[in-house]
């Protein structure tokens, strides 16, 4: 029996095991939406903006490890997805986006709502397709899901002209798939792995630097084993947080621009740096020429283009992080028998001394809510058992610093692109993927207004996403730079006068709105929010607008050239207020 392209598409999604699709309708995707009307197995979640749909699909993917899927219309619908797609691309998130397109015979004619989305998204997708014939549809969808989720994952876009979704064909699902020019390398070179294992044994001051690749490849267990056996301290990039337990003795927390003192010091002193699933972003390395100056560098990554891109590497290992770590563990257990505790003793002592010398720090205040205090309380009251999304800015960095992530896929944050407006829709996606989990978005008052309309999506779907707005009345991170580097000329970063009453906004959408203006209100507000089970909650925390993120490595400096909070000497102990 012949089926329409739209029916074939939905059949394909079912074959791929897709349960949720995020999207927004329009003229040229009506055939698809019409099929979805009666569909039970594939549920469309209507967002209020296409960018929201893509970020939701992205959050869904990050939280669950499955592929995020979105469907949007042509022209403006498709162009609205570009930020979300670029965001997913930078962070290597598996995603398939379907965009409607004008009928094939009108393509290139400046037809109504036409945009060359395949052209527009070429540089920010892993791959993209224009399907010109319904008979190619199933094969294309199969390939797209395969490409999106294998190798270094990434977003794939499929452009579907209206006549293709309306046209009829047979549904033939290709069980096997082979793309001749696409063969990711999973196994690392055995000889190199052996070399690396021996370097780890030889090193006096080794540091592991774990990135998002650890989480994407599901290698947390192997990483932990490696670190624990060989007694090597682990620092993580923003994308790597949760890949190794933040509460472990061996954890150095995050490194880089807003990394911990001890992580940055350890890297700069190290004689061996083991980069695992990282791409040595400039926010992490600071001035590249001065990065890890004494270290031999081992770099493990599935993407050969990441290796030696901006850093010299002594032992490059191309392969899937989990496979490589498994092999490396084998070598270490069988061939490399070192008295690990003894040979690491003095290095770990040094690391501990750095930790004690300058722990992450802020000054508690009786009058004003310190944003870091809110994050600490969130961690405490949830016992760390939550999925945390963030927006971008100070809120993101404080979360990275003060919420000790212990498990992978519990931090959803826009690492590569730094997209304000990512966190809230991503949290919605995560909540759908993990209905039994507590999901919290930590936001700034600026960022939350980038996709605040998704409150409707959360309310309609009864999603109890909690949003903690660290409301400082400013585009805080930009203000921080203006304060430090632009003589406090706060050019266009003041938001307070135009901010809405976030409690009322929440209520207007049918969500719960709560506010804390004083430190003692923080805990009751969080507790109240945690009780809400079937609706989203906005927690509006009026925080000290002057607070800055420290330590800070100024752009272009080496990562041990850190600036610290000048108020340290007035430190009052947090214990006093518990």
């Amino acid at each position: 029996m012949k089926k329409t392209g739209a029916e074939i598409l939905i059949d394909c999604l079912k074959k791929e095991g897709v349960k949720h699709v995020f999207g927004y309708p329009g003229g040229v995707v009506l055939n698809i939406f019409d099929v979805l009307y009666d569909e039970k197995d594939v549920k469309l979640i209507l967002t209020r903006h296409e960018q929201g749909a893509i970020h939701a699909a992205d959050g869904y993917a990050r939280a669950s490890g499955k592929i995020g899927v979105a469907i949007v219309t042509s022209g403006p619908g498709a162009t609205n997805t570009v930020t979300g797609i670029a965001n997913a691309s930078m962070d290597s998130i598996p995603m398939v986006v379907f965009s409607g397109q004008v009928p094939t015979m009108l393509i290139g004619n400046d037809a109504f709502q036409e945009a060359d989305i395949v052209g527009i998204t070429r540089p920010c997708t892993k791959y993209n397709y224009l399907v010109k014939d319904v008979k190619d549809l199933a094969q294309t969808v199969r390939e797209a899901f395969h490409i999106a989720s294998t190798g270094r994952p990434g977003p794939v876009l499929i452009d579907l002209p209206k006549d293709v979704t309306a046209g009829k064909g047979d549904f033939i699902w290709p069980e096997h798939i082979k793309i001749r020019s696409y063969n990711p390398t999973y196994e690392g070179n055995k000889w190199m792995i052996k070399q690396a294992a021996h370097e780890i044994a030889k090193a006096k001051k080794p540091v592991i630097m774990a990135g998002g690749g650890v989480i994407l490849s599901g290698a947390s267990k192997e990483l932990r084993e490696l670190a624990e056996i060989t007694q090597v301290p682990v620092t993580m990039t923003l994308m790597g947080l949760g890949g190794f337990p933040g509460t472990s003795e061996l954890s150095l927390g995050m490194l880089g621009m807003h990394g911990t003192y001890y992580a940055n010091m350890a890297v700069q002193e190290a004689d061996l740096l083991i980069g695992i699933g990282v791409r040595f972003d400039d926010r992490v390395t600071g001035r590249v020429a001065s990065f890890a100056p004494h270290a031999k560098i081992i770099h493990i990554d599935i993407d050969p283009t990441s290796i030696k891109k901006n850093l010299r590497v002594d032992i490059p290992i191309v392969g899937d992080v989990r496979h490589v770590l498994k092999d490396m563990l084998k070598v270490i257990k069988e061939d490399v028998k070192e008295p690990w505790d003894a040979i690491r003793k003095s290095w770990l002592k040094q690391v501990k001394a750095w930790k004690q010398e300058r722990p992450l720090h802020y000054t508690y205040d009786e009058e004003k809510i310190k944003p870091q205090f809110v994050i600490e309380k969130l961690h405490e009251l949830t016992k760390g058992d939550a999925i945390i999304a963030t927006e971008v800015g100070q809120n993101q960095m404080w979360t990275a610093q003060f919420f000790k992530f212990d498990k992978p896929r519990t931090l959803l944050t826009s690492g590569g692109l730094g997209t304000m407006g990512y966190g809230f829709p991503a949290a919605i996606g995560a909540q759908l993927a993990c209905p039994d989990k507590l999901v919290i978005d930590v936001a700034g008052d600026g960022s939350i207004q980038m996709n605040i309309q998704e409150l409707a999506t959360a309310v309609i779907n009864k999603l109890p996403v909690k949003v903690a707005i660290l409301n400082n009345g400013y585009l805080g991170m930009v203000r921080q730079w203006q304060e430090l580097f632009f003589k406090e000329r706060y050019s266009h970063t003041h938001l307070e006068s135009g901010n809405p009453d976030f409690v009322k906004v929440a209520e207007a959408y049918g969500a719960v709105g709560l506010r804390a203006s004083k430190p003692e209100e923080v805990v009751p507000v969080i507790k109240e929010a945690l009780k809400v089970k079937n609706r989203p909650v906005f927690m509006d925390f009026i925080v000290d607008w002057k607070e800055k993120v420290y330590p800070m490595v100024p752009a272009g400096a080496a990562i041990n050239e850190m600036m610290f909070d000048e108020e340290k000497k007035e430190e009052k102990k947090l214990k006093a207020v518990k």
């Binding site: 395949v118 070429r122 540089p123 793309i179 020019s181 696409y182 050969p304 283009t305 030696k308």
Partner: protein, 161 residues
């Protein structure tokens, strides 16, 4: 260093822009580019001439290899090979120079493929040096127009394993 890189790709629409977009998006320069089908009509071959230090060339070849439609990348720098390009030159010599131009064309194994009252169009192929020399010598006689293809390259048989 200057490299001639040949890239075997799936013959699909959009592939050329993926390849050229890779170069422009990363700030690499393409000096010349030529594309054509191979014996297998499903596969095309691109010959790209580009410059960069070792690190850039390594990135370029890795990035090309990473593109989904790329089947194989060969950097001819590492391989004994032959290179050719072609040029079409329209000259309008003075009457007394016409013989001289024809002689020059002959020396360079050029062929006259069109002629008018006062012009010849000469075709010649060769490696870059030869083409450059030919253009330089013809120049004084008045070049009206000329077009030059990108380079094509192929490995020498004995160099193949």
């Amino acid at each position: 260093m200057r490299h001639t890189i040949s890239v075997l790709v799936e013959n699909k629409f959009g592939v050329l822009s993926r390849v050229s977009g890779l170069f422009s998006g990363r700030g690499y320069n393409i000096e010349s580019l030529s594309v054509g089908e191979t014996i297998d009509p499903k596969i095309s071959i691109m010959t790209i001439v580009t410059t960069g230090d070792d690190q850039i060339i390594e990135q370029i070849t890795k990035q090309l290899n990473k593109l989904i439609d790329v089947i194989k990348v060969v950097d001819f720098m590492e391989i004994d090979h032959v290179e050719r390009e072609m040029v079409l030159i329209k000259v309008s010599p003075r009457k007394e120079d016409r013989i001289e131009v024809l002689k020059l064309a002959e020396i360079f194994r050029g062929r006259i493929i069109d002629s008018g009252f006062s012009t010849f169009t000469i075709e010649t192929t060769g490696d870059e040096g030869k083409i450059n020399a030919f253009i330089e010598l013809i120049k004084p006689f008045g070049i009206k127009e000329f077009v030059r293809t990108g380079k094509v390259a192929i490995a020498r048989e004995k160099a193949k394993k």
